[in-house]
């Protein structure tokens, strides 16, 4: 019995919780990507760096607050600073749209042009962030690190395996779920949300219905700013902030958005979990778990690992491709331009 519990705890600690948290992080990023794809109809490569920008502003404000002695008790002070991050990101995105994207929208440029333009924007934002805060790691987390740490858990339960659950993991998971539900509701139930979908479907006809395109675009960027800054800050809190990483984060984020079905918020979260779980689960060596579950005689002396972690990306992409083969526009019937 104890063995069974230990096995469950090991699996939760190294597979379930990390994958849930990582999946939520991906989902938050993927939501922004998927929203831009859904409404403005292009894959935004600058999203990773938008997240970095939002996180950067949040960090700067957090430092300010920390300097003033403001804190949130057990919760990270950064939560207080996120609204400022969002506001700054919103300003940045609206400016970018005004200076860059609007021109191509009016030209009715092909989506791929926008994709390439967004790469240009990515380079510029990337330079901007590194310019302002530098290329290095920055730490800004405070408050309680853990809801429960491995050591406490062991003491509490007397089990030989520990289970750690970080505050940031908790916040991320909760936020992701709330945001997905809210966004889904907003897009499918509210007038503004529907008008945004209408705009993405048929811009000319949206005009004929009296929908104001500028407003739709603005609302989209505002929501994206909220998502990007929140996602960026939460990611930075959980791991650490480093501008370069946000660029790397883009790949799994896109994968999550695509496998879930582009343009669909529910897809983004499903996609996030698919990617996260396939990375963590397939490469997890079962040695310890089996060690608890099987009688001593059968205890494995190898790692019992299906594939080495070298191939964790390969695994998640293989799964992605298999999913797409059966559901060509993702789990939740996404769009394609």
């Amino acid at each position: 019995m104890i063995d069974l519990l230990n096995a469950v705890v090991v699996l939760s600690n190294y597979v379930l919780i990390p994958a849930l948290a990582y999946g939520s992080q991906l989902a938050l990023g993927a939501l922004g990507v998927t929203l831009i794809y859904g409404i403005l109809r292009f894959s935004n490569f600058a999203h990773g760096d938008t997240m970095a920008f939002g996180a950067m502003v949040t960090i700067l404000v957090t430092w300010l607050f920390q300097g003033w002695g403001i804190s949130l008790g057990p919760l990270p002070t950064a939560l207080l600073a996120i609204p400022f991050g969002i506001a700054a990101t919103a300003a940045l995105l609206l400016t970018t749209d005004r200076l860059v994207y609007r021109f191509y929208r009016q030209q009715k440029a092909a989506p791929v042009i926008l994709v390439i333009v967004s790469m240009g924007v990515m380079f510029v934002m990337n330079g901007l962030v590194r310019f302002i805060i530098g290329p290095n790691d920055q730490r800004f987390s405070d408050g309680e690190r853990f809801i429960i740490s491995a050591r406490e858990f062991k003491k509490l339960t007397g089990l030989s395996e520990g289970l750690a659950f970080k505050t940031t993991q908790g916040i991320t998971i909760v936020t992701a779920v709330i945001v997905v539900v809210a966004l889904f509701w907003f897009l499918n139930r509210t007038r503004t949300g529907k008008s945004m979908r209408a705009f993405s479907d048929n811009e000319d006809l949206a005009l004929l219905s009296g929908i104001n395109p500028d407003r739709v675009v603005m609302v989209t960027w505002l929501i994206v700013a909220g998502l990007a800054a929140t996602a960026g800050a939460l990611y930075g809190l959980d791991k650490s902030f480093k501008p370069f990483i946000y660029l790397q984060l883009l790949l799994p984020i896109f994968a999550a958005a695509v496998v879930g079905g582009l343009g669909n918020p529910l897809g983004a979260i499903a996609g996030g979990f698919v990617i996260a779980f396939s990375e963590v689960l397939i490469t997890y060596p079962l040695k310890k778990v089996l060690g608890y579950l099987l009688p001593d005689r059968f205890e494995p002396d190898t790692l019992v690992q299906l594939l080495s972690t070298d191939y964790k990306f390969a695994v998640s992409f293989t799964i992605l491709i298999i999913v797409l083969l059966f559901r060509p526009t993702g789990l939740f019937k996404g769009k394609s331009v």
Binding site: S43, Q107, G127, L128, A255, F313, F317, L325, S336
Partner: protein, 444 residues
């Protein structure tokens, strides 16, 4: 006809940029840009074939380029005889077993009637095959990798020149078409499975596959030393040192009043430029002929509306596969050429940003759907890629010129010069597309 002047003007402009580099900076740098521009132009042609002609959103270019590089190693390096003796056959046997397992499984799927029996047999074959494969293969790999891990530790290639393998530089030329074939083979596999996907879904699938290819090249040390890199590939052109030591060469250069060291590297680069130009011209002519023919028309029709093209008797799936393989093969050839130019294979230098997206930028900025646009884009963007670094520095100097010597902002700005490289690239990209939203030489 005016449009033609504009295009010639654009090519002239790029030529001037490269020549200008030669005059202002150095001819070596100019030739380096020229050579990489030639290779990039070929890659861009491959991508243009897929995207511009057929609308296939392939974001896995990096993988095909890397496969070309792999071919360069597999063809032009000497075999590691000890490694072959230690476990070469076992590795090969392992691979054969693996392939046989998959083939048998597929055959079972095709031949047996559907039902639990078939599923069970397939699973049994796959699992049994997997363990058999691992048992045979892993041992072989361990043996191969144990052979002088720091120096070789891999099976090596097919260059039988022995100790003087470096003199067999023509082997690298053979590796170019082989790189194309290797890429084509993998493209065929991918195409068979994934080409049914649309737009961005195909994109992410190809992106993933290219990451998988790189992962394999990074981690399978027995194949090409993984992240330990293979350096010192033979060359199809003479070595600078040889030229510098050859009496005849020194005589010629001094007669012309040139420095033998500089001229040796220029001569070598010109050699590469000649070889690359031949390939580019061939690919360009073939692509251009194909585009301006009923075949090109059919491809454009498929790109415009697959359903209607299918109804008009065009086999869309087969055509997509054809052009996907062709475009990928061209990228493979270019990849082998690039590895030849670098004379080394370093898997970790294959980054999507550099090898996939930069090529896309070339195609789009050049003008997708237009072969000359792709060639122009290849040269121009690579020129920028190299030159934005000094440009970024100049930009910073201009920005800071008015500030006091110890101005904090000035120091901060100068500190961040290195980050201005990508920023400058981004700005230029945005500006170019602003003034030529359909690319510099748009499709007609």
């Amino acid at each position: 006809m005016t449009i033609n002047y504009k295009n010639i003007g654009l090519f002239f402009l790029v030529a001037c940029l490269i020549l200008g580099t030669g005059f202002v900076q150095s001819w070596n740098t100019a030739l380096f840009i020229l050579n990489m521009g030639l290779v990039s132009a070929i890659m861009a042609l491959g991508v243009n074939l897929q995207w511009g002609f057929a609308g296939l959103f392939n974001v896995g270019i990096m993988g095909f380029v890397a496969l070309g590089g792999l071919a360069a190693v597999l063809i032009s390096m000497p075999p590691t005889t000890e490694a072959w003796a230690a476990g070469g056959l076992r590795v090969i046997l392992g691979i054969v077993l693996g392939a046989a397992t998959v083939t048998t499984a597929i055959l079972v799927q095709l031949r047996m009637a559907a039902g639990p029996a078939r599923t069970l047999t397939t699973i049994a074959i796959l699992i049994g095959g997997f363990f058999l494969y691992r048992a045979v293969f892993d041992g072989g790999v361990a043996a191969v990798e144990a052979v002088d891990a720091a120096g070789t530790g891999y099976l090596g290639g097919l260059n039988f020149g022995g100790a003087s393998y470096k003199d067999w530089g023509f082997m690298t030329l053979i590796s170019w078409p082989v790189g194309g074939l290797l890429a084509a083979g993998v493209a065929w596999l991918i195409g068979k499975t994934a080409l049914g996907l649309r737009s961005d879904y195909l994109a992410i699938a190809t992106l993933g596959i290219s990451e998988i290819i790189i992962a394999v090249m990074k981690n399978e040390d027995w194949l090409s030393r993984g992240v330990k890199n293979v350096i010192g590939l033979p060359r199809p052109v003479p070595y600078e040192i040889e030229l510098q030591e050859s009496a005849g060469f020194i005589e010629h250069t001094t007669a012309l009043g040139l420095d033998p060291v500089t001229s040796s590297s220029i001569v070598v680069k010109l050699g590469y430029a000649g070889l690359f130009s031949i390939v580019l011209v061939i690919v360009l002519i073939l692509a251009q002929l194909a585009l301006a023919s009923p075949w090109g028309r059919m491809m454009r029709a498929i790109r415009d509306n697959e359903e209607a093209a299918e109804a008009m008797g065009k086999n869309v799936t087969a055509r997509h596969l054809q052009i996907f393989i062709l475009g990928s093969a061209i990228c493979g050839v270019a990849g082998a050429m690039m590895t030849t130019l670098d004379s080394q294979l370093t898997p970790s230098s294959y980054q999507p940003l550099r090898f996939t997206f930069l090529v896309w930028v070339m195609v789009i900025v050049g003008g997708s759907g237009n072969n000359f646009g792709s060639v122009l884009g290849g040269f121009l963007i690579f020129f920028l890629w190299v030159q934005v670094e000094p440009m970024g520095a100049i930009l910073m100097q201009i920005l800071t010129s008015g500030m006091a010597e110890d101005n904090v902002l000035r120091l901060h700005l100068l500190d961040s010069v290195a980050h201005m490289r990508l920023l400058t690239m981004g700005l230029i990209l945005i500006l170019v597309l602003r003034f030529a939203p359909k690319g510099l030489i748009p499709e007609k």
